[in-house]
Amino acid sequence: MTNRTRTTASGFGDLPGLMALMTGDEKHGPAATSTLDALWVLYDRVLRVTPETAQDQDRDRFLLSKGHGPMAYYAVLAAKGFLDPEVLPSFGAYDSPLGHHPDRLLVPGVEISSGSLGHGLPIGVGTALGLRAQGLHDPAVWVLLGDAEFDEGSNHEAVAFAGAYGLDRLHALVIDNSSATHGWRGGIAARFAAEGWSAETVDGRDHEALHAAYTAAHPDRPRVVVARVEPKNS
C-alpha cells in the first residue's frame, strides 16, 4: 500500500487522491483546493528544497501563512516525499502530526506553525533578513497568504517595510478567492506595488502562467504573485 501510494503520488493528478485520504472524499470544492495549483507548481518546479535538503541552511523556504485548510499543502508535501502518505488518514486525530493548522515541530518540511492569520509575512521578512545577514543571497523565501488574511494589519507592516528595504529574496504568493469581507478595491497587487514590490496577478489554475510569474526577474525588489481562483462563495 505504502509503496504503491508513493510511486503513484508523484504528479499533480495524484493530489486529489492524497487529499481524499484526509477528507474521505475524492471530490473537493474550490475552497479546499484554492491553493492546490499554486502550491504544486511552486514545489514541483520552483522551490529548491527536498526532503534531503530540508535542514540545509541554503534551502529555499516556503512559509504557509494561511494555515487554515491545509489539506492541499499536506498532499503536496506527501507527493514530494516530505510526508509519508500513510499518516494522511490520521488528519486531525489526537496523536496525528497533521492538525487542521500545521505545526512546524510536528511535520517535516513545514517551516512555520500557522493558523492565526497575519503571522507568516512578518516572519518571512525576518527570515529574509537573517539569510541576508549570513551572506546567503541565493535562498528564496516564499510566503503564501489568502486575500481575506490580507485584512490583518500585521501584513501591511511587513509589506511596507519589505518594499522600502528592498528585500529582494522575499516573495509573497496571495491566493485570491475573493473571500475578504470588504474586498480590495483596485486589487491586492496594487497594495504591494505601491510599496515598491514587483507585482503580478495571474490565473491561479494556469500552471504555465504561475510558473512564469514565479520565475520572473525582480532585481532589488520583493515580489508578489497574486493567484486568482474561483470566488469562495460562488
Partner: protein, 297 residues
C-alpha cells in the same frame, strides 16, 4: 550615573561587533542611540519603523535562520501590543529571542497610561519558558544582558527601568541574593525596589532577598530565608501579586503568610514624577514600612 537604557545601547553595540550571530531589531525607540552601530552592521541592526507586530515577527524569522535576535522598544509596545506575536512567533514556533524593554511601569508618569506597562511580567507568566530579568542598576543590566544574549536560544525578557538603586548588587543570573539576614520573615525586593525596601526595613529583624531575576523564581532561596518564620513580603515594580503564585508554590508544604506589594491594578490618572507615583502606590520607603509593619506585627 548612566541609565540602564544607556548601558543597553553601549553593551549591545559592542556585542554586535563581537558576535556575528547577534541581530538587533528596533521599532524606532532608541534608534538614535544605535546610529553608529547601525553604520557598522547594516545587515544585523534593523529598524523596522513603528511596527511592533513586525518587530516580533522579524525577530522570530531571524531566529529561524539560526541567529540570536534582540528586539527592543518600550514595554507597552514590546509585550502588550504584540502579545500574540510573542505567543505564536516565538513560543509556538519553538524559537528564542531576547526582548529588552524600557519605560516599565511608571518611568514616564507625565506620559500617562499609554506608556505604562505594569502587566508585562504577568502576561509573560501565561506562557512557558520565559526567563525574566529585572535589574535594579546599570551594572546589573549589563551583566544580565550579556548572560541573556549568551543563553543559548532561550527566551529571555530583560526589563530595564529609569528607576534604579544607588548601588549595584553582584547578582547571579537566576538566583536571589541575601542582602540582609533576620529572623522574623523575608522581604523579597525586585530590581529597582531594593533601596526603598532597605530603607523601610532598616531596623526590622527580617531577611531581605534581592531578586534581579524573577523567572525562574528562586523558590529555594525563599524557603531558606523563611526557615524560622514563614512570613513573606513581595515588593515588585510591576503589577502587585505577579509573583504571588510562585511564592506560594515555593512554600506549598508549610503554613505561610504572604503580602504581595507592587503597582496597583487600577488606572492611576495622575501625571508628575516617578517618586510621586511610587508614593501614591505605597511603594516608597514610608508606604512600604507602614504596610510591612501592619503585616508582621
Amino acid at each position: 550615573m548612566d541609565t540602564m537604557r544607556d548601558r543597553f545601547i553601549e553593551v549591545t553595540s559592542g556585542l554586535l561587533d563581537e558576535d556575528p550571530r547577534l541581530a538587533l531589531v528596533l521599532a524606532d525607540i532608541s534608534a538614535a542611540g544605535f546610529q553608529q552601530a547601525a553604520g557598522r552592521h547594516p545587515d544585523r541592526l534593523v529598524n523596522v519603523g513603528i511596527r511592533e507586530q513586525l518587530l516580533i515577527g522579524a525577530a522570530a524569522g531571524l531566529a529561524l535562520t539560526g541567529m540570536r535576535p534582540i528586539a527592543h522598544t518600550f514595554a507597552s509596545f514590546l509585550i502588550e501590543r504584540p502579545f500574540e506575536q510573542v505567543k505564536l512567533d516565538l513560543n509556538h514556533q519553538g524559537v528564542g529571542a531576547v526582548l529588552v524593554s524600557a519605560a516599565g511601569s511608571y518611568d514616564w508618569p507625565a506620559g500617562g497610561r499609554t506608556h505604562m506597562s505594569p502587566g508585562d511580567v504577568a502576561l509573560l507568566d501565561t506562557l512557558p519558558d520565559w526567563t525574566v530579568h529585572v535589574p535594579g542598576h546599570p551594572d546589573e543590566a549589563e551583566r544580565l544582558l550579556r548572560h541573556a544574549v549568551a543563553d543559548g536560544d532561550r527566551k529571555v525578557y530583560v526589563r530595564l527601568s529609569a528607576h534604579q538603586n544607588e548601588q549595584a548588587v553582584k547578582v547571579e543570573p537566576g538566583r536571589f541574593t541575601v542582602v540582609r539576614e533576620g529572623a522574623r520573615g523575608a522581604v523579597v525586593a525586585v530590581g529597582p525596589m531594593l533601596d526603598a525596601v532597605l530603607a523601610a526595613t532598616a531596623n526590622l529583624d527580617v531577611t531581605v532577598l534581592y531578586a534581579a531575576t524573577v523567572r525562574p523564581f528562586d523558590g529555594a532561596a525563599l524557603r531558606a530565608a523563611t526557615q524560622r518564620r514563614a512570613d513573606v513580603v513581595l515588593v515588585e515594580p510591576y503589577l502587585a501579586g505577579t509573583s504571588a503564585n510562585a511564592a506560594h508554590e515555593a512554600l506549598a508544604d508549610r503554613p505561610h503568610r504572604l503580602l504581595a506589594l507592587g503597582v496597583p491594578q487600577a488606572e492611576h490618572r495622575q501625571y508628575g514624577s516617578i517618586p510621586e507615583h511610587l508614593a501614591a502606590y505605597g511603594l516608597d520607603a514610608h508606604g512600604l514600612r507602614e504596610r510591612i509593619d501592619g503585616f508582621l506585627k
